[in-house]
């Protein structure tokens, strides 16, 4: 009995402790504003106020003056694609930052010629630490690249099919597209300069393609002049900078936090609070009830049931002895 009780109490205590840890531990999801670690985007909030969108349906109905940063790591529904189309058509600025996700699904829907290659862009000479961090210093002079002498990417890809007059940034002539993923330049692999940032106007809005969403994470924002580029992006429109969360795959921690948040939301409702109060009362006062009156009767019934089970066991064993 003691062991069982210990196991139950221990399990409950561990669950509560784990829930508390999950609740208070900061998010470590990629690209999340509440993530203060190297792969979060909490530092963007220091540059300019940013609003998070849990769904593309939260986009403003009048998108003029709004800039949306979209990192498409999950596929889109037809409705979402239509929403993006109307967002740009009515004057919004869409910054589609993708490397190995579903950005091409958006581009196909919008009918543009540009595409994300989806293969790794490596630069074995002009890089930071290793070839997976290519330096970009071929920049066209224009407001988006104002005060940007160079950029640093992180496991990026490149753009295909963009017109020369749309390209804002290109990799060096030593860069190449590692199509077979072996980390070395093979004869049939494209070499640089390759476009990595482009801008084109669509209807009343703009579409800016960035071949590496890692530009926006905390650890990359402080390198090269990535900070200046982010500032220029924030300055495109003075009213709203939005980041879409609905196409970022949630981590286990995030999902667990969501569950706990839902539980918390239920518990702070009157019904939830009442149920919690009743549970607390039952748990704390049950030892008293257990010894007297109804508790004793219940214990008696349980004991008789247990005895019957023992007798049945004995009968069975006696039967086996024959």
């Amino acid at each position: 009995m003691g062991l069982r009780k210990f196991l139950v109490i221990f399990t409950i205590a561990v669950v509560i402790l784990m829930a508390a840890v999950v609740w208070f531990f900061p998010s470590n999801d990629d690209y999340r504003l509440e993530n203060p670690f190297w792969n979060g985007t909490s530092d963007i909030d220091q540059i300019t106020p940013v609003s998070m969108l849990e769904s593309l349906s939260e986009l403003p109905s009048a998108p003029q003056g709004s800039t949306l940063i979209l990192v498409p790591y999950l596929p889109f529904t037809p409705d979402e694609l239509a929403t993006l189309d109307s967002f740009i058509s009515e004057g919004g600025v869409l910054i589609l930052a993708d490397d190995y996700g579903f950005g091409n699904q958006v581009l196909e829907y919008l009918g543009t010629g540009g595409r994300f290659s989806g293969e790794s862009l490596l630069d074995p000479l002009f890089n930071y630490k290793n070839q997976w961090f290519p330096r970009i210093f071929h920049l066209r002079t224009e407001p988006l690249t104002d005060e940007v002498q160079g950029l640093l990417l992180n496991h990026s890809t490149c753009l295909l099919g963009v017109a020369d007059n749309e390209v804002l940034a290109k990799s060096s002539s030593f860069s190449f597209l590692d199509q077979n993923g072996n980390g070395e330049r093979d004869a049939d692999e494209a070499i640089g300069p390759l476009p990595v940032i482009s801008r084109l106007s669509l209807a009343q809005g703009q579409l800016i393609l960035v071949a590496d969403p890692s530009l926006f994470i905390n650890s990359m924002e402080i390198l090269a002049n990535n900070y200046a580029l982010i500032k220029n992006i924030a300055a495109i429109n003075s009213s709203q900078l939005l980041i879409d969360y609905s196409h970022l795959p949630p981590s286990n921690l995030h999902e667990t936090k969501s569950i706990l948040s839902h539980i918390h939301d239920f518990l702070i409702t009157p019904l939830g609070t009442l149920l919690l109060v009743i549970s607390v009362l039952v748990l704390t006062l049950s030892p008293l009830w257990w010894r007297k009156g109804l508790g004793r009767e219940i214990r008696g019934i349980l004991f008789r049931l247990r005895q019957r089970a023992v007798r049945l066991q004995i009968k069975a064993k006696r039967g086996r002895l024959r």
């Binding site: 792969n39 890089n127 210093f137 795959p249 609070t273 009362l281 005895q307 024959r322």
Partner: protein, 657 residues
Amino acid sequence: MKRLAISILVTVLFLAIFPPLLTITAQPAHIPHENPAAAKESANTALLLVFYGNVFDRATYRQYQTAHDMLDELKQANIPPSLQFIVERYNELSHQLFRDLDQLESLLNEASDLLAVYRIDEARQRLDDARSSISSSQIVLEDILLATAALGEAMGMSLPQVDTQLSQAYNRLQIIIQRISQLISELNLFYERLVRTYETELLVELTPTELSLETTPGAAFVGDTITASGRLTTSSGNPLDNRGVNLSLGRRLFAATTDPDGFYTIDITLPYRYVSPVLLSASFNSSGDDIGAYLGSRSPVAEVTTYFHPTQLSISPPPDGRPGLPMTISGQISSTSTAVERVIQLSLGDTLLAEETVRDKFAIPVTPPPQIPGGVHNLEVRVAPNKRYADASASRDIAISRIGIEVAAEVPLVVVLPKTMKINGRVYHSSGPLPDASVEVSLRGSSTRVRTAADGTFTATLAMPLDISLVSPQQLTIAIKPDEPYYAGLGLKKTLYFINAVSVGLLLVAFVSLGLLAYNRARIGPTRRREEVEETVEVIAPTVPISPEPASTIRPPRAPRPGYDLTGISGDILSAYLSGLEAVENASGIMLLPHTTLREFIDAVTPVLPGSIASFAALTTLAEIALYSGHRLDKNMAAQAKQLAATALAELQSGTA
């Protein structure tokens, strides 16, 4: 219960493990990024040599500026620290080499052009400079060859086993540097050819020429036309007819042709450049049949006094401004005539605020852009030129700032939940209240927005529901956003303490209950707990007869026992137990009924046969082990059981107390 607990644990583990497997498969196949701080260093030094090869290759095609630009890109390259110094020095030498080569080519080309028109003295100067450049280039190239060897050694070229890529890049670089050397040799040959040409031309007797220049009038207003004229003759005074004469007025060039008497004349319109004097000069260069016959010549420089009406501009801007709030820039344009209309532009930084046409005094209202950031900005006023009237400009620094606002809010320090909070406040600035400003009050996820009244006051209401916390600090945020851009926004944060009365009360009840329970248990003690157990047993097992039957009572018939198959060690133990059982039943009068357990039977007979039952109690334990336990039985236990049975019989027969 044990099984239930284990089931719960297994279920929890299952739920904990399985969902991650599902979410992992949804991740992109490529690594999206890695932590740059933890990234491994890996530099490809062979590509550095490839890059230098490309740079020198451009130089061999005489694309020196491209070569310079490519070298500048090398700052972005990942160069191991061990090579940093060599690479920097190598770059400096390369830049020097390209500058020398570029300069050498320019000098040789200029010398060639000058020799072509028999401007021998000027050509001589160029050739002397070219000679220096050739020497410098050769020295720098030797240094580069040595530096290349040093760079290769630093990269491991001297090792027994050299990387193929590195070896190929190094060899290629050396080949290209050899081509640079050939280029210098070619330029040297070109130099020597020009020197021979110079020496040949020196021997040729060329007839000197003289060129004169005068302007009529010698002074004029900008925009007016003057006439430049002169005469081209030989040194002996013979006119040279039908010769081209080039005139230059600043950067503007004009061409004239001599008449049969060697005179030339041309009308020149003075440009609208408000400087005086302007310089006019003429030159004659031999061409065609004149080459080898006549020396070129230049006229003396003629000064043309240009007249214009200077303009003075004075402005009186306010010392500071507000975004979106109009301000007036006043000033005065002074010139020889105030009747002329002038176009005036007012700019704040890069933003054009106004452009108007004014005369003399002006007062122009301008409005700084609403989004302009605060700080010192440069206000520039420019007056455009108007033909004979010169331009003018003036600038002042203006401090652009927003009017600060303040807020006084009544916020309680402690709030007892649940409660509807009302927050009253007043927004004002130095000159009075701020009406119609947006006030957003946020607290714990809920927010409300109101606007200030005409007197700057506001009242915001927030409903605070229950939650499960007991006492918690919360941050109240009041954000004020005036509609007018010349007021600054304001954010105010205050910490409140929420006390959840219901949760605190429940917690007290729970603690009190637990305290009472603990006290109760401590007071009762172990004796009472045993009594409670016995009482419980008494209540629960009324079927076991406790009191022995009196002697006169007819004993109930013994229930027929099933025929057991008593084999093996367990059979021996049970046989011993049954023999003991029969004796105890006879002695106590209490029967072991089918529904009674062995333990219940021994508990029932113990009060009846105190002191005579110890052996039988031990025998009962052995029987229970044989029946229910997984304990391994041995012959000792069987022997012990028999011994205990015999002892029990003896005790019962003798009636040992």
